[in-house]
Every structure is written in C-alpha cells, then in structure tokens.
C-alpha cells in the first residue's frame, strides 16, 4: 500500500508541474474570472448564464486535463525508463498502475478544487453571493464532475496500457462523447411507446447502454444553473452514481492490469 501511495504522490508532484496541464488550467481559471464580464444581460439571466458558463468551463477544462494528464501516464514512464527502476523494486505492476491512476486522480482533484474555489470566489466577491446555500449548491456540481473525470481518467489509463498517447487521446475523447450522449439515444430507443423500433435494435441498445461508461449521468449541473427544481431522490442518485463510478473504475483498472501485466515495456 505504501508503494501505491508513494507512486501516487510522485505522480501528483509531477502532474502539477506539467506545463501543458498548467496552461490548460490557467486558461480555465482565466475564463472563470472574466466570465462575470457579461454585464449585458438582465440580473437573473446573467446569473443563470454565468452559472452555466462557469460550470461548463470547469467541466470542459477538467475533461481536457483528465485526458491529457492520463494518456501520458504510462507511456512517459516507459519512455523515460523510470518504470524499470520502479518495477525492479518489490513493486507489482498492478500496484504501479493503481498508484499512477490514484496520482492522476489526486492531481485532477487538486486542479478541479482550484477551479471550484475560483468559481466560488467569483460568485462571492463579484456577484455578492455569500449564502452557504447558494455556494454549496454550486460547489456540489464540480464534485460530481470530479467523479465523472475520475471515471474518464480510468478509461484513459485503461487505453494507455495498449495504445499510444495520441490514439488514446481520441479514443478516450470518443468514449467520453459516446458516454455523454448515449443515455439520450437510449431513451429514444427504449421508449416503449415508439413502435417503429425493432426489438433487436432495442435489445442491442440495452446491451450498449450497460457496456458504455455513462458520463451523462454525472451532468447534474442543470439544477444548480436553474435553481428551485425538484430533484427526486437526489441523495440516492448521488450514492448510486458514486457507486456506479467506483464499479466502473474498478472494472477498467482490472482490465488495464490484466493487459499491462502481460505487456512488454
């Protein structure tokens, strides 16, 4: 366990010094800070649009960071041969992989926490929103984004055990896209009132629905952007969602371990 944590810590230390990530992060933070400049709208519209924009910026930036950060995790270690020094120590490959993944998640969490803090600061200072309710409602969203991005990072780590970073970038991005849209597609397919859908296609859609990691589930920003909505079973949804993410992350890591364990590095 200490080996995993050490590797995670080192990965974190390296990730927060990677220039490309810092540049992406900086752009994200910059966007958050200038977003309130949209003074043209009426007060309430402005608040709605501002919430939509800032949360969107956080999500988008986090997704890019999650992918860019993780696609290079394993390949960089191999290219720089650091992996040989580590694997010649009493460290098993699965420990290495899990350590790298955890490090990436830590780094992601740190960067997302920074963006979230910036957002809250912007809303508190520039928009005078200081109530715990308002800010808490806003802050909950990036927490779910973090779970979402952890899942995305697991997808990228899984792919990084057998494809090159560039291919991985597009693969993971593609999975994110498919996983972000599939619920909606599935909804159309699974609608029993629609008689024009072939039962085979519907069954197939159900199969894909349970196979594709579902990123759309985590997009809970709408109730924060447009407050006052009645969200049914929010707590059990959140718990279910986190459970879902953990299950999926574990599956991806196990698959990654099985491949990585047999891989020649």
């Amino acid at each position: 366990m200490s080996a995993i944590l050490s590797i995670a810590k080192t990965t974190l230390g390296e990730a927060i010094r990677r220039r490309v990530l810092l540049v992406i992060l900086l752009i994200g933070v910059l966007f958050l800070v200038i977003a309130p400049g949209l003074e043209a709208l009426s007060p309430r519209q402005e608040a709605t649009v501002l919430r939509a924009l800032t949360l969107g910026v956080i999500q988008l930036t986090s997704a890019v960071i999650a992918i860019v950060l993780t696609v290079y995790l394993i390949p960089n270690e191999i290219e720089r041969r650091t992996i040989y020094t580590i694997l010649s120590k009493p460290v098993l490959r699965w420990q290495f992989l899990v350590g790298k993944y955890l490090g990436a998640v830590f780094a992601l969490g740190l960067m997302m926490a920074l963006m979230t803090a910036t957002m809250l600061l912007v809303f508190a200072v520039m928009k005078g929103q200081t109530s715990v309710d308002q800010l808490g409602g806003l802050a909950r969203v990036p927490v779910m984004f973090f779970v979402q991005m952890s899942l995305l990072a697991a997808v990228a780590v899984f792919f990084s055990t057998f494809v090159t970073p560039v291919v991985n970038f597009f693969l993971s991005g593609g999975v994110y896209l498919v996983g972000s849209v599939f619920n909606s597609l599935f909804e159309a397919f699974a609608d029993p009132s629609r008689g024009d859908i072939n039962p085979v296609a519907r069954a197939l859609a159900t199969v894909v629905q349970v196979i594709v990691p579902n990123f759309q589930n985590f997009n809970v920003q709408n109730s924060a952007i447009n407050p006052g909505q009645v969200i049914q079973g929010e707590l059990s949804y959140t718990i279910g969602l986190i459970g879902y993410a953990l299950f999926y992350i574990a599956i991806l890591l196990i698959a990654g371990i099985l491949i990585f364990d047999r891989r020649e590095v």
């Binding site: 949209l38 043209a40 709208l41 009426s42 309430r44 519209q45 709605t48 649009v49 501002l50 939509a52 924009l53 949360l55 969107g56 999500q59 988008l60 997704a63 098993l92 490959r93 699965w94 994110y176 972000s180 849209v181 619920n183 909606s184 909804e187 159309a188 629905q209 349970v210 579902n214 990123f215 759309q216 589930n217 985590f218 997009n219 809970v220 920003q221 709408n222 109730s223 952007i225 447009n226 006052g228 909505q229 009645v230 049914q232 079973g233 929010e234 059990s236 949804y237 279910g240 969602l241 879902y244 299950f247 999926y248 574990a250 196990i254 698959a255 371990i257 099985l258 364990d261 047999r262």
Partner: protein, 456 residues
Amino acid sequence: MRVKPAPLLAAAAALFLGQATVQTTQVYPLWKKNYAPIQGDYTGLSPEHFLFALAGFRELIAGILWVRADAFFDEGNFDAILPIIWLVTRLDPHQIDVYATGMWHIAYNFTDEGSRSDRRYIPSATALGVEGTKNNEHTYELFFETGWLYYHKIEDAYPESVKWFTEATKRADMLPARRNILNNALQRNNEVEKASDYLFSLLDEAEKKLKESGEFQNRQNRDTIEQNYDNLLVRMAQRGYLAKKGGYYDTWQYDTKPPFDVGFSAQVTVLEPRKIQVVGTWNVLPVGTRVRIVLRDADYPRAIPAAMEWYQGDRINLDPPKDLTFMQDQLFVRNQRFNRTIDMSRDLTMYPFVSDRFVVEFYYNPRQAPAYIQDKFGWNGEGMTDANFLNTEVRPGQRVVYTKMEFSRDEILRRGEWADKAPVRQTSNYRGLAPSQLDREIIRVPGILAQPPAGQ
C-alpha cells in the same frame, strides 16, 4: 510476477454486473426523471456546438447562445433570435428566462409599421409557454407568464388565463403581489364569487402572515388585498350582482339597468391597395372603449369569430404560414365615434393577401372593458346591448357586439374593376358621422367641464 487472471476476471465480471444493476435500476430511472434532455432534433446547431452539446456541455452552449441572442436583441435583429430561443430551450429546458423572454418576444415583438403584432405567431408563443410549464413544473413563473400572455396579449380567452394563473398560485414560490392577478382574471371570466372567495382566502393568509411578522412588506400586502376586496364588494353591490343573487334586482335601481344601447355602426373603405379606412359610431361617451377589428383570410385555418384558436398544440412553429393574412387592431373610440386608417401596404410579409376572399370583423366584448365601463355594462355585458349587432353565439354565454363584412382580393388590392373605384362596405345602420363627431381632437368628458357646452 504476474497476477492470476482468473480471480481478477471473476471480480471484473461481478463488478460489471454491479454497475449494470446500479445503472439500470437506480441511476438511469432517476436520471430520466431529473436530468433527461428534451428529445428533438438539434439541426440548428453548428457542428462544433452540436459536438459540445453532445459532450454534456448543453448548458454551456445554451448560455453562450443566449448571450448571443442578447446581442441580437440590442440590434433589433429579431428574426435571428427565434431559432436561438428554440435551440436554447432544447439544450436547457430549465432556463425559465429563455422561455419567458421567448414567448414575450414572439407574441409582442413581431410587429408591422403601425406596431400591430403579427398574430400568426401567437400559437407559437402559447405553445412555448405550455412547453415551458411542462418542463418547469416546480416554479410558478412560466405558469404565470403563460397566464399573462392569455390575459394581456390575447385577451378574450379568460378561461385560459384563469387556468394558468390558478396553476401558478399553487406554486409555493409565487410572489404575494402577483397572486392578486388571479382575482382580475376570475372577474374577467365572470367568476365573481370565485374572485371574492379567492380574495378572502388571500386576505386570511396575509393577516396570518402579518401576525407572524409586522414587517412593512406584510402590512402592505395585506392592505393591497383588502383594498382589492373592498373594490370587489362595492362593485358586486353597485353592479347588482348581489341583488341578483338575493332576488331583489328588479326592485331597485342599479347602474347596469336598463341595458345601454351602444349604437354600433361602421363603414369600411379601401382607400388604396392594402389600405383601409374604418369609420363608425359607438354611443359611449367615456373614453376607453376599444372595438376589435380583424381583417383576415375568409378561410384562415382554425379561425374563430374575431380571433383564432390561440393554442394549437405543442408544436412550436417559428416559421408562420407566409401566405396567410391575419390583421388585428383596435378602434379607439373618442366622442362616440371611431375613425382609423389601417395601412398594410408596407408589410407584405405580414399581410400577403393571397387568399381570394377576406373578412373584416368587428368585435366588442365588455369583459375586456375597463372597470368604469364595466360598472355600467356589468361583468358579462348584462348592462350593454346593441339594437343591431348584439351577439350571444360567437362567444357562447357572453354578450358581445359582433358583425362581419366580406371583401374580395381584387377589392383589397384595388385591381380589376376596383382599380379606380374605392370599394365600400357599411353596416345597414351606418348614417355617416354627425358634425359634432368630426372635431377630432377634443375629448368631451362629462361632468368635468364647469359649464356645459353650448347647445346641451
């Protein structure tokens, strides 16, 4: 040293079943309830917007588009706004402002040179409002906005405004001050006792609240309701409502009896192609009467007398039928006559006049009248009559003034035999205007002048 695959594969399989179970039994159903976007085609989005929207950034794109729409508002480029409104509501069906602004914009902002709204758009506005309420049942706002659209823009569809305002008042977040509007809608819908009951319950509530906290706002709110309630009670007495209920209406004098003859007559002249002059009489001295005039295709789809079915289903069609004509305006009565020239020649897209036959309709419904006129006419026109045009059929159960005249396309466009001969239609009782009715600028208000004008 490699791991043993078998136990890991078994674990993965178990986890897979776990995630599938959680996803299908717990997460997906709640997602569908709470977060599912509206089904629909997003073809209006640019490819990169589309991609981003797919990637879970729907609200972000909606926000960006809405900022864009705002710029178009500033420029007055209204045509550009409609598709944006439509897209934004698809991307984020919970952005209340977009619905509210959108329906207001569709209903009010598309006007001709004479500031007449394009009524062909109204069904889209109501559809947008109804859709907004379906997607945002948690808040009163869109129920209120939809009710307001019926109450203020459409008028004459008061059952609808009562229905939507009632829904709005059921929502906990309805502002106290706005609750009063249901009272007005109920009165206009001739549900006077309901209005009284409603105000009474509001008053009750407001007093309770005032007892809880004596802050200014609570006091002011209670006072407003009390005043409204007083007004209503006075009117119920004055207009003979209570007397009718009590069965002694015939015994005493009330403002609403005997019914007053408004003496409607009108003449329509096609002055130039697409330009008509409407003159006529209306025997009501106080200023404030507006007689509705409609000029539309005789076969306008889903038209009803002097109106159309304003709600035509949930389909939001932002591209209204380009070959249909529906002009609606108001004839403002001064000095017991009206005289108005309506020029439709500068807005060919709004008034294409492609049909063969057209009707001009005149319509007056006392339910829309201001309170001081209603004091004479009653809530439902009990105190109003017209020797020629009183109608109780075009609006079942309501006493309205209604008549219509037909024109051919050639007449409106002054073609063929009408090229140098102005077509004229008039009601059989039209006698022209008295000389006293011809000075246009002086409005004679009874009782205000110190000396009665010479000759009276």
